[in-house]
Amino acid sequence: MNIKYIFKGTITLAFAALLTACQSELEKINKNPNESTTAQPDYILANAIKSNADLLQGSDASMETTTLFVQHWAKIQYTDVDKYVVNPTNVQNIWTNLYSQGLNDFAEVIKIGQKTNNPNYQAVGLILQSWSFQILTDLYGDIPYSQALNINQFLTPQYDSQKDVYAGILTNLKKATELIDLNANPIKGDVIYNGNLARWKKFANSLRLRVALRIADRDSQAAKSVFTELAGNKSNFIASNDEIAQLTYLASPNQNPVARDRETRDDYRVSKSIVDRLVLLNDPRLSIFANKTADVTPAGYIGVTNGLPVDSASRLGLSKTSKLGDYFTAPTAPSVFLTYSEVLFNLSEAAQRGFIQEDAEALYKQAITASLLQFKVGSADITKYLAQSSVAYNAQNYKKSIGEQKWLALFSQGVEAFAEWRRLDFPQLKPAYSGVLNGNFPVRLTYPTGEQALNIANYKAAVAKQGTDVVTTKLWFDVF
């Protein structure tokens, strides 16, 4: 062999060796020895739950949108949003926060659960993920679901129809309840139930009832099958006010978003619609939901009409209208996800629809009782309240009875109240006083403008399928 070739070969080899060494060195250099590279599920879980809880109570999904649409609250300053001039920033924030914070974190929790063979992390991740998708589809309609949260494969996810999203949620919630292992594999970072997995199972089943009724006007068979599977044993569900799914806030800086808003702002009052209704029904929750006016007035409680022109609103006066009750503005007020009373209302409606063989009226009364107890109303007052003819159950018009009482019970749970009000069409509200929708109500949120910039083809396909991208386009579940 020629000595020259040997020489060349050696040089090449030496370089090759050098290069590979270089590469591994480079990779090492990119790793920060002081930073953890694997996430701990407990931190992710706690953060994601708080992110969703903040969203549900915060200005984007509640204060500036849904809670005004359902006329729980009204605006006394900056009234544009109360006239249905929905702020695009709010619309974008709900979408961005749910997908890139809550949902992305829950997906990570599920992955960690799979890697570490902890079925309970998987189950809890799946429950919270399904719940987040339910919020999104309730608000927007068709949404990216099957291709969402998979950036390596789908940089521009397709939209799935609302029908498929609800079906997927029902399947995954059932899967989650089957995964839960009550005897082993504890979880940490659970700021809802503090690791009590039996309660997570109840939350998942209660969510299944919610979603089943959501689709009941479209697919009553699918809805019925959920109830027949679960309703035989009431302990399958959230079965007392102690088991409510909620995040209880702490003192500042971890205070309730409403409390944080009230530290610096005074833009909201309780809506006239709900104050008048509570007065009419002699409802003991009035003093919980609303505060008496700061200036002493004969009525004590005065609500504000939704969607007033700025000058009319300011003439009403900040001190002559009722602020939101202290219960809801306390730093430690909870962000409520699903209540015992909601479960009972859902069972009552299922009984009325013939999904289960039970007494709809009795369940309706239990639901109201649960709501009153949740707000610490005494038992004598409850009996008195239920005895009124104005509260009595009307089987001929169950949507009215259930719709009106559910609307009261869901006070300050804007997102869920908005969905149920659209589905049940009760209570019959009057559109905002100077609303900009020609006397119509908003019945969804438009897609955020970012989708038009970053996912245009799929956005267009979704709009073509669902209908014009405006707030007055009815969603699939909203039949009537």
């Binding site: 702020n87 695009p88 920033t89 979408w95 961005t96 997908y99 890139s100 949902l103 992305n104 997906a107 949404i143 990216p144 969402a148 949260l149 998979n150 950036i151 789908f154 940089l155 521009t156 996810p157 022109p309 000058d311 009319s312 006083y433 100077s434 900009v436 020609n438 438009t446 403008t449 970012g450 989708e451 038009q452 910039a453 970053l454 996912n455 245009i456 083809a457 014009t468 991208d469 405006v470």
Partner: protein, 347 residues
């Protein structure tokens, strides 16, 4: 004379691309992209007059064009648009197959004839689809420096220009919807062409009813207002809009930052008197007596005047961002004119 043509392709930039949050992420780091830049550059330097007495007139001209085109963004072809910047309302995009730097925002809803459609309440309707409202990249830029020298005196005048390209001016949007700009006097009272109207039973949430005679009183004795404006557009059936709007609503509906961006897009072209400099170089024999090498005195003025400007109320050169998100302006301080005096001494 100096002429250049260039055609350059840039590949594999490191892009922090905005992606749909439905992917679970707001941004993705990509090593991708293909941008083509081509254009002309010309420079001409000549002296039209030079006399024996020492007078000299020199002209330096420069001109350049640049076309920046986005060929592709990511290798997989998922991304059509890369967000270069945003002021939270309007985004600046690099879109595949298009000119670089598109201003993407809300537009007026127009019918097939191109007329703006108004809502039933007389306010302009917004197109539910966002549109490209312009591009910030100019068609060409150029400058001319004239310098005149005689004996030790030298006067040089630099004029430069940027032609083509658009800018979104939040200053104008804010100033108009809040009514602080002088343009919004239009229609605010009788003197400025405001139309007369009243509300049935003084119910201000009702529809304003026009009065043809501005001196007339309302039929029911209602209060008469004189700040009515009719938006120049058509109803959904194609007929001319006749609904009267109070000036406040008119300006708010047309110019609000969160409303229709198209109304605050301006042509960013300008011609600027960039610099005037008068200098005097003290003769060498005088200077040498003081044991110095050279002394020059000069008076300089920069950013003295606009010779042409199409965007009202702002300097189109001011910008919200110094990064890629150009073409956006939002309540920026205008460029300041500066005047200076310089004394140069060489030892």
């Amino acid at each position: 004379m100096d002429l250049n043509y260039y055609n350059s392709d840039s590949y594999n930039q490191i892009l922090r691309a905005d992606v749909s949050p439905t992917t679970g992420f707001k941004q993705k780091l990509l090593n991708a992209g293909h941008i083509n830049n081509h254009g002309f550059e010309a420079q001409l330097n000549f002296t039209p007059i030079q006399t024996a007495s020492g007078f000299k007139w020199n002209i330096l001209l420069n001109y350049s064009t640049n076309v920046s085109q986005v060929i592709s963004l990511d290798d997989e072809g998922f991304l059509n648009d890369y967000k270069l910047g945003s002021n939270g309302i309007i985004s600046v995009l690099a879109s595949k197959g298009k000119r670089y730097g598109a201003l993407f925002g809300t537009a007026f809803l127009r019918n097939t004839n191109g007329d703006i459609v108004v809502n039933a309440d007389g306010t302009p309707a917004r197109d539910p689809n966002l549109k490209v409202l312009g591009y910030y990249t100019p068609k060409w830029i150029g400058g001319i420096t004239n310098s005149f020298s005689y004996k030790g005196f030298n006067l040089s005048v630099l004029i430069d220009t940027k032609q083509g390209g658009q800018i979104y001016s939040a200053t104008n949007a804010t100033g108009k919807y809040t009514g602080v700009l002088i343009e919004t006097m239009q229609g605010r009272d009788e003197e400025h062409g405001g139309l007369a109207y009243y509300y049935q039973g003084n119910n201000k949430s009702g529809t304003p009813i026009p009065l043809t005679d501005s001196k007339a009183s309302a039929p029911g004795g209602e209060q008469v207002y004189h700040d009515g404006i009719i938006f120049n557009g058509v109803k959904s059936d194609g007929s001319q809009n006749t609904v009267i709007l109070p000036a406040e609503r008119y300006y708010k509906a047309t110019y609000s930052n969160s409303g229709i961006n198209e109304s605050s897009i301006f042509d960013a072209s300008f011609i600027k008197l960039r610099e005037v400099k008068l200098s005097y170089t003290v003769p060498t024999n005088l200077v040498n007596k003081l044991h110095l090498q050279g002394v020059t005195l000069s008076l300089v003025g920069r950013n003295l005047a606009f010779l042409q400007k199409k965007a009202a109320n702002i300097d189109p050169e001011t910008a919200f961002s110094t990064g890629n998100g150009q073409g956006l302006e939002s309540l920026q301080l205008p460029t300041t004119s500066s005047y200076g005096f310089t004394l140069n001494i060489n030892f």
